[in-house]
């Protein structure tokens, strides 16, 4: 490689690494804002603002979904297995909404500690499988979320 080319290569590499450092520091500084939602732990610690629209996320606690039989009102608990957050919502839930699944709720935190949601979004995990496989996993005592670990055991 001629000295001129070598110099050019170093200039380019230097430029790219400087840009990478700048972007990295920016993202590091903004990390709290880049997170799409607050977890129940953060809300319990008081990190989330009150009476302003926020997003909270976690798992729908098993057995916590209570529907009002006469309306679309529904109450459920979002948990990260450390702290819980009570969510009040009125509206149509996404198809993938179910207990034990991830959700992101958009709404306002009120003084009673409940989150009054305008919108509920379902998250899903990275595992896909046919219904029979999910059934077989359940019978073997695994949750479908453990697909990778259960496959590794076999």
């Amino acid at each position: 490689m001629t000295p001129k080319r070598k110099q050019k290569l170093w200039v380019i590499l230097g430029l790219v690494s400087l840009a990478a450092i700048a972007v990295g520091l920016t993202l590091y500084a903004l990390r709290a804002n880049i997170n799409l939602f607050f977890s129940p732990v953060q809300i319990a610690q008081g990190d989330a603002p009150m009476a302003r629209q926020i997003r909270a996320g976690g798992m729908v606690k098993e057995g916590s979904v209570a529907r009002d039989p006469d309306s679309l009102d529904v109450e459920f608990t979002v948990t990260d297995y450390v702290d819980d957050l009570q969510v009040v919502y009125s509206g149509i839930l996404p198809d993938l909404f179910r207990e034990g699944q991830g959700v992101v709720v958009v709404g306002e935190l009120q003084a009673d500690g409940h989150l009054y949601a305008d919108k509920v979004l379902a998250r899903h995990d990275e595992n896909y499988m046919p219904p029979e496989v999910a059934q077989a996993l359940k019978e073997a005592g695994y949750s479908p979320a453990d697909y990778q670990t259960s496959a590794a055991d076999k």
């Binding site: 430029l15 790219v16 997170n35 198809d95 979004l121 899903h124 999910a134």
Partner: protein, 255 residues
């Protein structure tokens, strides 16, 4: 090795070599895409939670893979062009950009269509979706910057620099779902860990991925060839090739 790279840098040699390779990649692409889409759309089982909407994965994941790979390929081409002044690298980077932009759009669009039945929304400003949108703007920026200069060489250098700096976005896209809380789930398909789905769902995805890559290589070879003819139009070998097909086959044999 070095001799091969130097040959690769010669437009004339590349033109001849790509003519031989092109049909194989086209054939592989057609075969893999037909088999993969039939298998994925008709024969692979439906997901236990999402049902048939899960099948969008067979377009969404390959398109998203290509969108990122093409940008990396453009950055490498840009580096080769800037440091070693190899023109073919710049021609390849030129023709790759629109295809990469289309793949990014396909990934975003199929993701939005998929998001409606699963998440309950077609768009959310989470880290994965936003960084992917930035990638689309980077592609458009590279294409626009290249054509904004009257001198082609200046446009090529500017586009190369933007591509090389923009490549920082690629690890951000890849790790966004691990670094931050996002609506988008973590990766289902990686080369390093075991698949997160049974073989009868996973295999068609692999076939679609290979098919998308073969299609990308085939179309890049084809478009680089026309770019070579356009840029080298004043060179003698191109004029011989265009004016006298008999002579061009003769020179091919002589080589």
């Amino acid at each position: 090795m070095w001799a091969f790279i130097h040959k690769l840098g010669s437009p004339r040699w590349f033109y001849g070599m790509s003519a031989k390779m092109q049909p194989w990649f086209w054939a592989a692409a057609v075969l893999l895409l037909v088999v993969g889409s039939l298998w994925g759309l008709a024969f692979a089982p439906a997901d236990y939670q999402q049902g048939n909407s899960f099948r969008i994965i067979y377009v969404h994941v390959p398109a998203a893979f290509l969108a990122q790979s093409i940008f990396i390929a453009m950055a490498v081409s840009g580096l080769v062009f800037m440091v070693w002044k190899i023109k073919v690298a710049d021609m390849a980077a030129t023709v790759m950009a629109p295809f990469g932009a289309v793949m990014t759009f396909v990934a975003l669009f199929s993701g939005a269509v998929w998001g409606v039945p699963t998440w309950g929304t077609w768009w959310m400003w989470d880290a994965r979706l936003t960084s992917m949108l930035i990638l689309l703007f980077l592609y458009i920026g590279v294409i626009a910057l290249r054509s904004a200069f009257t001198r082609r060489d200046s446009g090529s250098r500017a586009a190369s620099v933007l591509t090389m700096v923009g490549v920082i976005n690629i690890p951000i896209i890849k790790y966004s779902v691990d670094w931050w809380y996002t609506l988008h789930q973590t990766a289902s398909f990686t080369l390093t860990s075991r698949p997160t789905m049974p073989t009868q769902m996973w295999l068609p995805l692999v076939i679609m991925l290979l098919g998308f890559y073969c299609f990308f290589i085939a179309i890049t070879l084809m478009r680089t060839r026309s770019e070579i003819l356009r840029r080298e139009a004043s060179k003698r070998w191109v004029q011989e090739l265009l004016t006298d097909p008999m002579l061009s086959t003769a020179t091919k044999k002589a080589r």
